[in-house]
């Protein structure tokens, strides 16, 4: 088992090395096969590890594996070591499985790209880093994976480097997330200084004994981890980078949004639940940030015309639901939604990728339309994804995961009616923008004739993901339907048990409300976006729409407050004003030497004169002092 765990990230890493050093001479088939194959092997290993884990679950709840001793100095001992438990297992399975499908799909999607090999090189490193992040059993190795996904997203967002705008988007992602990394780094340092270890389990164990609930040190540390989490997971106010991140190739977005990168923040908080439990105020903050983010980005998603950016905002919004769940202590509900979201978000991005290929790189949904007959597979799978994203009752996976969160946002001991209101408003917005996307793209009259027909490498991943987006939620039921909770009880091997404190008979009513909201949402979007399509298009020109579309002006604010002053200061001081001091000293000495050299003119009477004046002055001074 130990070897298997260590080999899961090793294979994508091996793929990265082969492609990076020998990829230049390879044909596309070979590098594509290595790229997807390395993830495929990791996936098989992950499933094998999962089987073993379930098989021995009654005896062993977690496995550790040490690859080698990394650092030792004084009492600082850190290993390259992994830990497999219920939480990291779920993440590993989702990362490798969804990652594998995306790699397969990319073989077709990127087939004509000159930098095919470079693409798979980065993608393999991306998956490696994410696996290290979730499998790490200490904070430093986790930080390695954490920065690694940041690097890879920078590289992949700026993949088409010839356009400076893509490079800008990549740097924006890196610098936003690096800000969070700084906070995370500080948090890690504090943990080490207080507990003398960087092992995550030991820290969790020691923290409960050493730090009181609500003590300022616990709150500060949890806050620092929280800042790390929101920057990676693009939650308010650190969300603007994720929208620009759409500059990358579409499979990158699929990977970034489903299983890697943005879910890292969710993982971080879930992994550190013991620390966050010591800081109730930060837990509340997590819930509020999640709830506000999901509504704010919901509006933006509804206003945007770019299919990828709508999906990007939907990711921000869905991660908001996960944060909400984490914040109210519904740990396993957050992880459940992570898993389901990975399925439908990968599906939607891959579907959008197929559309973009067919529309010859057109992203504007209003330029599309009437595509359901021409591209049936994409249409049906896309509807499945959108339905799951909207949480259409009973028949989609999204319903099972999201409605649990909506109910817990009220029912949790730390929940509140206001959080629930925001969650419900978010649900309505989600349905509206999801079906707006579907109706505008696939219904109405055809604006552009598709120039491309998806091949099997694109269709098969879509169908698999569509299947999971519909049925992947049947692993956990609300109590009103059935007392069937295998996922929750599985997660509870690692995460704390969550018990709502509101009476159970309310749950049915609350679920009816959210179900009704979804159905009303679909009906409304049918009215607005099929029947009154032209009016909807006209609305995109309004100021209000532009405001939402531009992400509520966050970019402008940051630009004025931070970017501009920094640029201004570095521009005026490019030549380094401290150097003027030296130049000044040099000038003054030069002036003096000239002045003195004037006195040295070789004229005898001048020398006699100055000698006399000097003697007179000295004598006067001596007499009158």
């Amino acid at each position: 088992m130990q070897t298997i765990i260590a080999l899961i990230p090793a294979f994508p890493l091996l793929g990265f090395f082969i492609l990076a050093f020998f990829g230049k001479k390879m044909s596309k088939t070979v590098s594509g096969t290595i790229g997807a194959g390395s993830i495929g092997i990791a996936m098989l290993l992950a499933f094998w590890a999962g089987y073993q884990y379930l098989h021995n679950l009654s005896d062993v709840k977690s496995y550790s594996a040490v690859a080698w001793h990394w650092i030792s100095s004084g009492n600082l001992n850190v290993d390259i070591s992994f830990r497999l438990d219920a939480l990291s297992l779920i993440f590993t399975l989702v990362i490798t499985f969804v990652g594998f499908l995306i790699h397969v799909y990319s073989n077709e999607y990127m087939a004509d790209d000159v930098d095919f090999n470079r693409f798979f090189t980065y993608m393999n490193l991306f998956v490696t880093s994410m696996l290290l992040l979730v499998l790490a059993d200490n904070y430093l190795l986790m930080y390695l994976g954490w920065e690694g996904v940041g690097l890879c997203s920078y590289l992949l967002i700026g993949f088409w480097y010839k356009d400076p705008a893509n490079g800008y988007a990549g740097r924006k992602a890196f610098i936003y997330t690096r800000t969070g990394d700084v906070a995370l780094m500080l948090g890690i340092i504090i943990l080490f200084v207080h507990f003398g270890t960087l092992n995550i389990q030991s820290v969790a164990h020691l923290a409960g004994g050493k730090w009181a609930i609500g003590s300022s040190i616990a709150v500060i540390t949890a806050f620092l981890l929280f800042v790390g989490a929101i920057s990676k997971s693009a939650q308010m106010p650190m969300q603007p980078w994720l929208i620009d991140a759409m500059a990358g190739p579409t499979p990158v977005s699929a990977l970034l949004h489903s299983s890697t990168m943005v879910t890292a923040g969710v993982y971080l908080i879930a992994r550190n639940h013991a620390l966050f439990a010591l800081a109730p105020s930060i837990m509340t903050l997590v819930a509020i940030v999640g709830a506000v983010t999901l509504v704010v980005s919901g509006f933006s998603g509804l206003a945007h015309h770019d299919i990828k950016k709508i999906l990007a905002y939907s990711t921000v919004s869905q991660i908001g639901y996960m944060f909400l769940a984490l914040g109210v202590g519904a740990w396993s509900a957050a992880i459940f939604h992570f898993m389901v979201q990975a399925f439908f978000k990968a599906l939607l991005f891959l579907g959008a990728g197929a559309l973009i290929l067919a529309m010859n790189q057109e992203h504007n949904i209003f330029k599309m339309g009437g595509l359901r007959k021409k591209m049936p597979v994409v249409f049906y799978t896309y509807v499945a994804g959108a339905a799951s994203l909207s949480a259409v009752p009973l028949i989609t996976a999204g319903f099972y995961s999201k409605d649990a969160i909506i109910w817990y946002s009220y029912a949790s001991p730390t929940g509140s009616f206001w959080l629930w209101i925001l969650a419900i408003v978010g649900a309505l917005l989600t349905t509206l923008y999801s079906f707006r996307m579907v109706f505008i793209t696939f219904y109405g009259k055809m604006n552009t004739e598709p120039v491309y027909k998806p091949k099997n490498l694109i269709k098969v991943p879509l169908i698999i993901l569509a299947f999971l987006s519909i049925f992947g939620g049947l692993v956990d039921f609300p109590d009103t339907l059935a007392h069937f909770h295998p996922f929750t009880s599985f997660m509870n091997h690692t995460l704390p048990v969550f018990t709502p404190d509101k009476s159970a008979h309310l749950e049915g009513w609350f679920e009816l409300i959210s179900a009704a909201v979804v159905l009303v949402g679909i009906y409304l979007s049918y009215v607005f976006f099929v029947q009154k399509r032209d009016a909807a298009e006209a609305f995109t020109e309004t100021k209000l729409n532009k405001f939402f579309e531009n992400g509520w002006g966050f970019d402008t604010v940051y630009d004025v407050l931070i970017v501009k002053p920094v640029e201004w200061f570095s521009k005026i001081d490019q030549r380094d004003f401290l150097d003027y001091i030296n130049v000044g000293i040099a000038r003054v000495s030069l002036r003096f030497s000239r002045l003195l050299s004037v006195t040295q003119n070789g004229k005898l009477r001048w020398y006699l004169m100055s000698l006399t004046v000097g003697i007179v002055l000295i004598l006067t001074y001596m007499i009158y002092k």
């Binding site: 990394w70 430093l140 690097l151 200084v193 150097d579």
Partner: protein, 514 residues
Amino acid sequence: MILTDLILILMAGALLSWIVGKWSPVGARIISLLALAVDLILTLTLLNVPVPSGTQWIVNWKAEWIPALGISLHLATDGISVLLLLLTFFIGIISVVISWKEIQKKVGFFHFNLLMALAGVTGVFLSLDLFLFYFFWELMLIPMYFMIGIWGSGEKTKAVYKFFIFTQIGSFLMLVSILTLYFIHGSQTGVYTFDVIQLTGTKAAASTMFLIMSGFLAAFFVKLPIVPLHNWLPDTYTAAPTAGTLLLAALLSKTAAYGLIRFIFPLFPAAAHAFAPAGMILGIVAIFYGAKLAYAQTDLKRLIAYSSISHMGFILLGVFAFNQIAYQGVVIQMLAHGITIAALFILAAVLSQRLQTRDLNQMGGLWEKAPMMGGIGLAFAMASLGLPGLGNFIAEFFILLGTFQAHTVMAVIAVFGLLASAIYTLRMLQRIFFGKLKTELRFKDLTVRDGFVFASLLILIVWMGVYPRSFLNISAPAVKKTLSVHQDQMSETAYNSVTTFSFSNQIFETKNLR
């Protein structure tokens, strides 16, 4: 004696390559390579020598030189200096290799200067006699002056004056301090000596000790350099030939950091502790002001030069933290920064040789033409911004961790240096490799020789990132011993204003024991 051999081989190599260079330039290059390779191998054998218990010295050797004045040839090496020696000879070899095509005039004399400067650096890392130390400290300077003056480019005359005046003022102040210390110790004990071991423990009024220390600090701070004594650096780095820049950035700056560790604290424990907060603040200023200036530059070599100031700020920060983790971080930072900055300057040289310009505004989109160069640039840019998995991260993490224990606020501010380095480094990458292709010239990717140079640097920086234990284990005994000397000194000198510092250190030490 192996330590004298290290220096003598270089000096002999220097003379020989000057002579041979008159007939055969290639002969001079090969002699230089051989001399450095022999030194590298000799130093590697030192790693297998067991450290005698109760001491930090792997080899400690002393012979009388001018007994009447108390000047001796006292050479010694411990885990810190042996690593720096390895860096010196390695960078020396790299310097010879990259000068193979670049230096075509007066080849013999060039290699004479190169090897003499390296002999000076080696001597600095080995001397335990202040007179000898000062001798080698000056020996580094003169060959550098010639290297920049003869083989430099651009405004080299101005640069070389600036370099000379700045460093000479620093050196002069250090000389005054050395002599003062010599006479104080002599008048107190009757033993007039320059031996550092004997001078350790010299006592005088706190203000006197502080003044003496300031002389040493002046020399080290100029060479490190700190802000605001840094203005010679960008001009000099830019004007120097590539090998000269490598020596300056990768090695000469390390002699200053080494001097801080080796001399300041053992000789002036109380004064150094009193100065620590100011030293840390200087480190922070260097980190951010260097980064800010790097961000603004359009000349690639200047940009890298300023980034170097920023990274040296971390060294200064760690040096004044007085604990094992910070010190081991400083040692790793010296090595990692030496390697990274060498790679970046070589990259700048390779680029400007192909493009005939160092102006970032005229670069762009070069990834398309030279993906290998791009990959190397990316890797070392990531090393420079402290990406985990590469050596610089280990160093900066250690320094921040150690600083946090010594002075929390300083660490909290300094950690934002990680953000600052990301901003200017990514801008540099963008301007060189990404965006639209601007050059019309035929642009060749790395040659095989460049490839080998970069590959060796890359292997080292990855090694330091994924298995730093190889390096940490070597430096650990020396670092522990150096710090324990501080502790002893501190407990002897009852110095009220610094008790808080030593207190925090003692807590840390007991943690270690546990």
